[in-house]
Symmetry: D2
Subunit: 430 residues, 4 copies
Amino acid sequence: MKIAVIGGGSSYTPELIEGFILRADKMKIDEIVLVDIEAGREKLEIVGGLAKRMIEKSGLPIKVELTFDRVKAITNADFVLTQFRVGGLDARACDERIPLKYDVIGQETTGPGGFAKALRTIPVILDICKEIEEYSNDAWLINFTNPAGMVTEAVHKYTNVKAIGLCNVPINMRQMSANILEVDRDDVSMSFAGLNHLVYATNVHVKGKDVMDELLQGIIEGKNMNMRNIHDAPWEEEFLHALRVLPCPYHKYYYMMDEMLVEEKEAAEQRGTRAEQVKEIEKELFETYKNPDLNVKPKELEQRGGSLYSEAAVSLITSIMTNDNAIHTVNVPNNGTISQLPDDVVVEVTCVVNSEGPRPLQVGKLPTAVVGLVQQVKAFEELTIEAAATGNRHKALLALVNNPFVPSSKVAKQILNDILEENKQYLPQF
Amino acid sequence: MKIAVIGGGSSYTPELIEGFILRADKMKIDEIVLVDIEAGREKLEIVGGLAKRMIEKSGLPIKVELTFDRVKAITNADFVLTQFRVGGLDARACDERIPLKYDVIGQETTGPGGFAKALRTIPVILDICKEIEEYSNDAWLINFTNPAGMVTEAVHKYTNVKAIGLCNVPINMRQMSANILEVDRDDVSMSFAGLNHLVYATNVHVKGKDVMDELLQGIIEGKNMNMRNIHDAPWEEEFLHALRVLPCPYHKYYYMMDEMLVEEKEAAEQRGTRAEQVKEIEKELFETYKNPDLNVKPKELEQRGGSLYSEAAVSLITSIMTNDNAIHTVNVPNNGTISQLPDDVVVEVTCVVNSEGPRPLQVGKLPTAVVGLVQQVKAFEELTIEAAATGNRHKALLALVNNPFVPSSKVAKQILNDILEENKQYLPQF
Amino acid sequence: MKIAVIGGGSSYTPELIEGFILRADKMKIDEIVLVDIEAGREKLEIVGGLAKRMIEKSGLPIKVELTFDRVKAITNADFVLTQFRVGGLDARACDERIPLKYDVIGQETTGPGGFAKALRTIPVILDICKEIEEYSNDAWLINFTNPAGMVTEAVHKYTNVKAIGLCNVPINMRQMSANILEVDRDDVSMSFAGLNHLVYATNVHVKGKDVMDELLQGIIEGKNMNMRNIHDAPWEEEFLHALRVLPCPYHKYYYMMDEMLVEEKEAAEQRGTRAEQVKEIEKELFETYKNPDLNVKPKELEQRGGSLYSEAAVSLITSIMTNDNAIHTVNVPNNGTISQLPDDVVVEVTCVVNSEGPRPLQVGKLPTAVVGLVQQVKAFEELTIEAAATGNRHKALLALVNNPFVPSSKVAKQILNDILEENKQYLPQF
Amino acid sequence: MKIAVIGGGSSYTPELIEGFILRADKMKIDEIVLVDIEAGREKLEIVGGLAKRMIEKSGLPIKVELTFDRVKAITNADFVLTQFRVGGLDARACDERIPLKYDVIGQETTGPGGFAKALRTIPVILDICKEIEEYSNDAWLINFTNPAGMVTEAVHKYTNVKAIGLCNVPINMRQMSANILEVDRDDVSMSFAGLNHLVYATNVHVKGKDVMDELLQGIIEGKNMNMRNIHDAPWEEEFLHALRVLPCPYHKYYYMMDEMLVEEKEAAEQRGTRAEQVKEIEKELFETYKNPDLNVKPKELEQRGGSLYSEAAVSLITSIMTNDNAIHTVNVPNNGTISQLPDDVVVEVTCVVNSEGPRPLQVGKLPTAVVGLVQQVKAFEELTIEAAATGNRHKALLALVNNPFVPSSKVAKQILNDILEENKQYLPQF
C-alpha cells in the first residue's frame, strides 16, 4: 500500500501524516512518498523532515520518501493525493487582486480568482493523470487541489483516472452544526448537494429528528457556521428561513455580494488579501516545522485553515481500503444524481463509499430556490474547464461572462486580459 | 368570429385595428369588442371612437363594440387578446424607480420591476381565465401583457385556458436583421430559443445560407439591433463573436449591467424614467386620437414603441384561423423543447402554428454559454409566479434573491418591502 | 412502538414473529396487532395463538393482539405491515389458470396473473391508506403484498402515506450468491436495479473484488440461483455472459418464455398450478400451527417459500427505528434514480435506510441490454395501476397489450374478459 | 446540382426519375448518376436505359450517367440517394425464412429479418459515408435503404454525414387517411412519432378539426390502411379505440403477432415468402423495362410496392433545395424530440424542412400506452447497430433477445447462429 502526495511540500502535510497515524489500526500503509517540484525543494525538505519524525515517533512501519521525480512517486501507487498549488501564494495573491481592480469579488477558488487558478491547474492535473494512466492505472486520485470541483471534472472529462474531489467544507459544516446543536458530530446526519464551494445541506437530522429549523435559528443567532478564510458576515434571517436549506460559507459571496466586496476591498487595503496574510502564517509555520525536536503536528497549523482536511481525507481512503460503506460528501460525476445538471459534470454530493469507490445517494431535483444559481455556476465551470484544457480564449471569455460576480462582458474581458497577462508563464495553452 | 380585447383602451389598439383591416382578405372577423375598466373610461371612448372610424373607412362588415363588462366581452369570443396594464403608467414608474434606489436595474419587464408587474398582473389574468373557462372555454387567449412569459406561464400552470404569449421582440429582431443584411424579412429564416425578453436567435439563414457572422459583424459595426425603449449601448465585439448567437436587446441589462445601470440612473434624474417619458407621449397620442376626422392609425403611434406588434398578433391569429402552418416565435409550455428546462415552464421558441395552435420546433440543448443565464432567470420566474399566485412572501423574497440584477439577500428584502408597500392596493394576495 | 400486521392470519406470520424476537436487542416493540377479515377468522386465531406462544416463550414484554377491526389496528401504529391476499388462494389459482387457456404464462405476480392481482389489491390498499392518513399519519407502511412494486406505486401515486415495498428476492439473490461464492452473505456487496420481480444485480463484489464473472459461471455450472416457486430452467450460458448482469429468478419468464410456458402447462395438468399446490402446503401448516405445544416457528414453514422475508422486513424496520444507515434493496419512488424511467414510478433499487426512510443509491442509466424490457414492463405496470385505481377498461386492455407475455390485442381482450368475469366480486371499480 | 443514386439498378429507379421530371419546375437538376455494383450490371443497364429515355422524352436538360465507380458517382454530388440491397432478394428470402423455422415472425425490415439486413447493410453504408466525407462532404445523404431507421442511426453515430432516413409509410398513411376521410391529402394534417416501421400518427386533423375517431372508425369498418407487402389482418376494434392513436401497418406484427405468424407460415409454404414473390414481379418488371419504346414509368411498377416513395423523396429534396419549410416525416436524430428516448438515436418524426435540413416538431412524451414498445424496439435497434458496426457477437445476441418477436434467449441464439452462417459472405465484421 503506497500513497503518493503531489505537492508534498505543502504546509498541510503534517495534518495528513497525523491522520494516517491516527487511523493506523484501520489500514496498513507501507509507504508515503512526498513529491514536489524543484522550486519547492526547501519546503519539501522541511516538511518531509517533520513527517519522518512524526512517523518515527508513532513507531509505525511506514516508509516516508521525498522526491522530485513525479513519475517515480506515482509508479505503483494505490492512492495519489494532489495538494499542489501552481504559482504558489504569489499567483493566488494575484487572483485575489485582479478582480478587485474592477470591483469584483477576488477569491481564491470562486469567481474570476477560481477561474484563474483553474486555468493554471488543469493542464498540470491532466499531465499527472497521463502518468497515472501509464504508471499506476488502478490508483485512486484523491484531489484536494482547488478549485477541487473543476479540477476533478477536468480529470473525468479528459482522462480515465478514477478521481474523487475532496473538500473540507462539508465535514466542517457538519462539525459546526454539531457544535450549534450541542450533540456529537456522529449523531448529525446531513445530506449535501450542489457544487464544490457551492454546496447546500438539504437536510439535517439528529437521531432521526429533523433539526433544520433549530440549526438555522442557531446560525441566525450568531453561532458559528463559517470558515476561517471567509469574512463572517451574518446571514439575513428571513432569507435563511425562506431558503430552509443550509448554504455553505462560500455562498456568502453570492448572497451577500455587495457586503463581501466592501469588506474584501477594505481588508486588501489594510491587511493585504488573504493570500498575503497566509504567506505570513506559512513563513512562521515553516520556521516551526524546522525544529528538529518537533515530532507532532504543531498547534499553529490550525491557524492556517484546512480544518478537518486530514480527517476527511484519511477516512475516505479508509472507506475505499476497508470497504466500510461509510458516508462521505465528495466530488464525483453527476450521472443523473442531480437531475437538472448534465450527466458528465462533477457535483459535490453525499455518497456511500466502499472499495468500488463513491456511489452518490440520489438527489433528484434541487429546490427551485437554489437550482438556478447552481446551474449558472456550473455553466461557468464547464466553460472554464474547456478553456483551461484547450486554451480557447473565446470559451474563457464566455466563462467569465457567466460568472455571477462579473457585471458585464466588458469587465469580463478586462479581467481576462489581466489574468492572461499576469499568469503568462503558467498558461502555455493560451 | 368574435375578438375580445381586454385593455381595449390602450394606445396600441389602433395598431391592432389596422392589422385586422390589412388582413381582411385572409380572415373574416364579425365583431371586435374593446373592454376596459371603469377607471379607463375616457381612454376607451377615445380609442374606441378612432377604432370605429378606422373600420368604417375600411368598409369592412366588422362590428366594433365598447364595454366595461368583461364577462360580456369574453362570452363566446374566439380570441381573447390581453393588453391591460394593472396600475397603469404610475405603477410602472414605481417599478422603475424602486430598484434604482438600491443601485439595481429598474426595468418594466425584467428584474425587480418585472417582478412587481407580475405580482400585480397574474391575479388579474387568472381571474380573466376563470371567466374564459366559464364563458368561452374554447377561446384562444393571446397574451401581450407583460411580463408576457411569466403571465403566460401562470395561465398554463393554474388554468386550462389555451394561451399563447406574444412579444414583438423576435419579429423586430428578424426585421432589423433583414435591414442589416439588406434583404427582405421574408428571406430571413431565424430560429429563436430562450425566454421572453431573454431570447436568442440561435441561427440566421438567408436563402439557406448561414449569415450569422455577417449579421453579428453588422451589429458590431453599429447597425441597429435595438428596441426603442432600451438604451442603445454597443455590443462588445469579442463577446458577440465568442457567443455566436444573437442576444435580444433586453440581454443588454444582463451583459452590460454596469453600463445600463449608470445610464438608467442618469436618465431617471434628467428625463424621468421610461414610464414618465411614455406618459407624455401617451398624452399627446390621445389628443391626436380625439380628432374626429382621424380615421387611420396616426404616424405618431410609432414613437410609442410596440413596433410590429400588430403584425405579429394578426398573423398569429390568421395562422390559427386558416391553418396555414406558418412559423411564429411565441411563448408556449416547454414540454421538453429546451431539454435543460422543466417541462411545465413557458419558453419563447420558434413554432409552427395551425388550427391546433402552436407546436414548437425542437431545440434540444441550449449552448453552455447561454444556458446558465436562462436557467437562473427561469428559476426567478418560477418563484415569482408562485409568489404572485399564492401570496407567499418567502417565495417572493427567494424570487428576488434569484434575480441576476440583485446583489444580495439584504437588497432583495429592501426592494421587496418597498414593492409590497407601494403596490399595496394591487396586491391583495399578500 | 406499535406494529400492525394486516393479513395477520397469513401462514407467514410466525416467520415475522420470529424475526422480531431475534432482533429484540436492537428495537423495543410494545405491541403487535394482527388484523384480518372475518372470513379469515379461523386462520387468524390459529396463527395468533402460535404467535402468542412464541412471544411468551421469548419472555419479551410484547403484547400480541388479534382483531378484525382494521381501524383499531392501524390507530397510532408506528409501522403498518401489509401481507393480505384479496380473494385468497382460489383467486390466485384463477390468475394462474386463465392465461394458460390462451398459451400465455400464468403467474401469480407477473404477466396477466399479476395484473389481475393488482386489480383486486390496489383498491384495498388505497382504502387502508386512507385509514393510515386518518389514524396514524406518521406511520410507515411496509408492503409485502404482491405485486409489491405496483401496489407500492399505487400508494405513492394516490396517497400521502410513507410506503416502502419489500420483496425477498434481492436478499435471497445475495444469499444464494454467497453460497455459490462460498463466502458469508455479509461479505457480498451487490447493487440492484430494476422493478419488483424484474430486478437485476448490476454488480457483485466480495471484499472489494468484482466477482460477477465468477458468480455467473457458478450459475451456468448449475449452482442454485432460483426461488422455490419458479421452475428451475437453466440459464443459457452465452446469454448470461453477454448480459453480464445477474437477472432475478423471475426473469426466466421473460428470457425463457417458451420453455417456462411448456413447463407450466404440464405442471398445471399434472400437479395443479402453484396456487393449488400451496393450498395443500398451507392446510398442513395450519394443522401444525394448531398444536398448543408448538411455541417456535415450525421447520415446515420453509417449504412454503418466502425465505428470508422476515429477516428483510425486520432489519428494514430496525434501520428506520435505529437510524443505522444500513443498505437494503426496496421498492421506492424513482425520482431520477434510474434516469430512463419516469420520476413518479416505483423501482426496486439499493437504498441507504435510516430514520428518514430509504434513500436510493443513484443508478443513472441501465445498460441498453436490459433497459427496454424494464421500460416495457413499467408501461404495463403504469397502465395496470391506473386501470386498478380508476376502473377504466380501456387502460386495462392497453396494460395487457403492453405485457410481454401477451402475443396480441385479441388475446389481451380475451384474457381481460375472463379476468373481469372471474373476479367480478373483487372488482367493484369496473 | 448533381444527384447520385446508389443502387441505381433498382426496379424503383423509374419511380424516382418520374418524380424528378414532375418537379422540374421547382428545382433544376444538372446530372443524375446511377451507380451499382458489377454484379448488378445487367439491371443497371436496363433501368438506366429506361431512365435515359424518360428524361429524353421530358425534354429536360438533365444528364443521366451510369457507372460502377461509386467514388466517381459521389464526388461533388449534392445529394446521395441510397436504395441498394446487400445480398439482393436471395438474402431477403433467407431473412424471411430463418425466423419462421423457429416460429418467429420473418419479415424483411423488422424482427430478426430486419436485424440480419442491418448487419449486412450498415458496414456498406459506413463505407459509403467515408467516401462522402472525402469526396462531397457537404452532400445530403437521403437513405431509403432498409431498415431505414437503423441505417440512418448508424450513419449519425459513426460518421459526420448529413443524413436523412426516408420511408414511404407516413406519406401512405396520410394518403390512405385522406381516402378514408374522403378529402384531399393536402387537407389532412397528421403528426407522426415513433421509429421507422413503428411509427404512430398521434393526431389527425382536417382543416383544423380533430378527426381521429372518425378515421379509426373507418379503419375498423374495413377501409384500407395497409401496405401492399403486409398481410391485411383487421384491427381489433376496442383496442384501436383504447389506443386512440393510429398505428402503422407494420405494427400488426406486434399487436397481432400470433395471427401474423400463422399467416406468414401458410403463405411461405403456399406462395413462397414475400421476397420470393417479389422476385417474380421483378423479373417481369425488368422485361418490361427492356422495351426500347418504353419512355414512361410503367403501370406495373405500382404492383411492386414502394407507393409514393418517389413523391416523398423528390419533395424532400425540393424542400432542402428551395428552402420551402414544408412538413415531412423523416428519420432524424432524436436529440430530445421524444423525451423518453436517448438523444443520439434516430426517430421517425414530423419535421419542418428547409435548406438547413429537417428540424423536428417537438413531441415531448409519447403516451404510456405506446412508449414501452417503442423503447423496447429502440433497445433492440441500438444493440443491432452496435453489433453491425463492431461485429460483437454478444451485442448481436442481446439485440435478438430484446426483439419482441423472439420468445427466449435460446431461440435468439439459434436464429443468430443461422443468420451468421447464411450471411457469412456479407458479414466480414463477425
